[in-house]
Amino acid sequence: MSDGSNQEYLIDRFLSGDLDDHGKEALALLLDNDPEMRRQFVDILRWESEIWSALNDETAVGTLTGDEIVRLASARKTTTNSKILSTAVVVAVTVGFFIAVGLYQILDRTDDIVPLQNDLQNQQVPSSVARVTGLKGDLIWTGDRGQIVRNIKVGTELAGGTIEGLAPDSWFELRFNDGSTIMISGSSLLTFGDDGQKVLRLREGHLSAKVSPQPNDRPMVISTRSAVLNVLGTQFNMEADLTSTDLTVNEGAVRFKRFSDGEEVVVEAQYQVTSDQDKRLLPVRVPSSVFTWKSELNGQVGNYGKWSPARMDSPAALKAIPLVPVENPEVTLYLAGISANRSGGPPVVVMPDSRFVIRGRLKEEARVYFGIRVKHPNGDHAGMFRGDLNMLQPLSKIDETGRFEAVYSLSQFIIDPVVLERQVENASSPDGLVLDGVWAFTHTMSPSGLEIFEVELLPPDKLEEEHGEIAN
């Protein structure tokens, strides 16, 4: 049987309700990894549904027309309960019994029918498996009953679901009931659950975990598009995107299996490995720290913005895209974020008196605000800092082609005020910590056209002489 037929057979079994959880996981994995499978799935459903519709119309089962919807909904909005009921009866007789069932459900609802954004505190969580212990920035949590929640708070109990970091400065920490903690940062998407065994899926982004000892027969399982990790108790960091998964183990050991060829290795403390298809699955020792860094704009996991390739008159750039902060929905920022994590790359340590230089382009002069996210050497989140708040950030001057350069000295960095408002733990200074990511944004009345060509971390002059090599 060809791959195409196999796929069709799997979809057919799913549509027949014949797939168990293993089959569903296999189908989910195929859909995640194979665009052709996704296209085929949607195509098959489209054809079947069109056939269903055509056959259904022949058998003349009533469906709501547009006019009936208007009538039903208007009646519900503008009349008393008794009038709604009588309307319901008339309409139900007209369009069939199943609509009467639907109408009952309509009457049973509150006015706020679609809480597209709602408050988790007002909802009952069936059985908590974990508690939110830290967060910052724009996040959306989708519970396993489909609630979409943006207003998550520290202390909230969660019963599994999907957490999505929407911006480069997003950060989220979760503590399971056994004390294991996981943290995602930047633009990341994580699904988690615990029904006696912790099962997580990192669709993309960065994840750090500190895992309490797990039962031998029920290790924590973390899957990505390209690999699966079995964890019995350890501390590690990982990042995943469409093509690869990178793992760095700080304490203990993690079993790492690559999906594409089934190859498996145990990664010990202070070693790292990547599932990249072109590389042998071979753990290598974590390299020594460096004190300089240059951004990678294209293909970097966790970057935020629209990448454009180099042109004759312009280098490659990451263009800032709109972001509406949760804290202030009236404001639109134009923001670009760049991850400092690199597959197999050394940790970049931020030294006192270092400075960041941004080079880019603006449509017109504007203040370019700048922040960094740092982590501890073991991968734990350490904090967020802003380089533009200690003094009023000056307007960035542009040349005739719109190019600008802005410099931010580490001595001027202060704790991001948003972190202070949320009362989460934050290091007092970024000195000596490992750079995790940077972001820059403008806050202007209209799009600023902010494009980032390059961000560079330059060490103090003395260190620069000692460590001339740029870590890129």
């Binding site: 027949s16 309700g17 959880d21 293993h22 569903k24 996981e25 189908l27 989910a28 859909l31 995640d32 665009p35 996704r38 296209r39 799935f41 949607v42 195509d43 459903l45 489209r46 054809w47 079947e48 549904s49 069109e50 056939i51 269903w52 519709s53 055509a54 056959l55 259904n56 058998t59 089962v61 469906t63 709501l64 027309t65 547009g66 919807i69 208007v70 039903l72 909904a73 199943f98 609509i99 069932v101 639907g102 459900q105 309509i106 029918i113 679609v114 597209l116 396993d144 009953r145 489909g146 609630q147 979409i148 599994g160 679901g161 999907t162 699904t191 659950g193 029904d195 899926r201 669709r203």
Partner: protein, 179 residues
């Protein structure tokens, strides 16, 4: 007619034009057409209530799909269905597939396409139509269809596969001739 009503009627009408697409998406998530249709009916009522939230210039199909998704979860909640991690992952993957590949098509294009489909459906044997009706309209499984129509499961499966292919070829040929 007020501008408010104009927008409401336009949004509802456009959404109704995507009824089959929305049923297809809901069917992927709830497992049967009858439930999917209920979900989409509910979603239309929500669309009527929330039409002002639709942002002009964005995809109405994507907006309606998001509402259908919420209605699906409401349905599962009402039915007290336990959602395993595998189900959640699959729901997410299905939603991503629809976001990527379910596209809005022009209404005149769809009208001619559906006309061709009905025409092609009328050309297959009554027996094959019975199998299709049992499967799609009545929502029966292969075993139930086999029992009801006195066939083997394999014969049911083959009949469905073969006639879906035939209908597809017929519609595509019809469309090529028409273009």
């Amino acid at each position: 007619m007020s501008k408010t009503n104009d927008k409401r009627d336009r949004v509802v009408k456009d959404a109704m034009g995507f009824r089959v697409e929305l049923v297809a998406y809901a069917r992927s998530l709830v497992g049967e057409y009858a439930l999917a249709e209920d979900v989409v009916q509910q979603a239309f009522l929500v669309i009527f209530d929330k039409y002002e939230q639709f942002q002009e210039g964005t995809s109405i199909l994507a907006w309606c799909r998001a509402i259908v998704r919420i209605e699906v979860f409401r349905l599962k909640d009402r039915q007290h269905r336990e959602r395993t991690l595998a189900s959640r992952l699959l729901d997410d993957a299905i939603t991503a597939a629809y976001e990527e590949f379910q596209t809005q098509r022009r209404s005149d294009e769809m009208e001619s396409w559906r006309f061709a489909l009905r025409n092609c459906l009328s050309r297959i044997s009554e027996r094959a139509r019975d199998v299709m009706r049992a499967r799609f309209v009545d929502g029966l499984g292969y075993q139930q269809i086999a029992d009801q129509l006195g066939m083997t499961i394999e014969a049911v499966r083959k009949s469905l596969y073969r006639h879906k292919q035939k209908i597809r070829s017929c519609v595509e040929a019809n469309q090529r001739q028409g273009s």
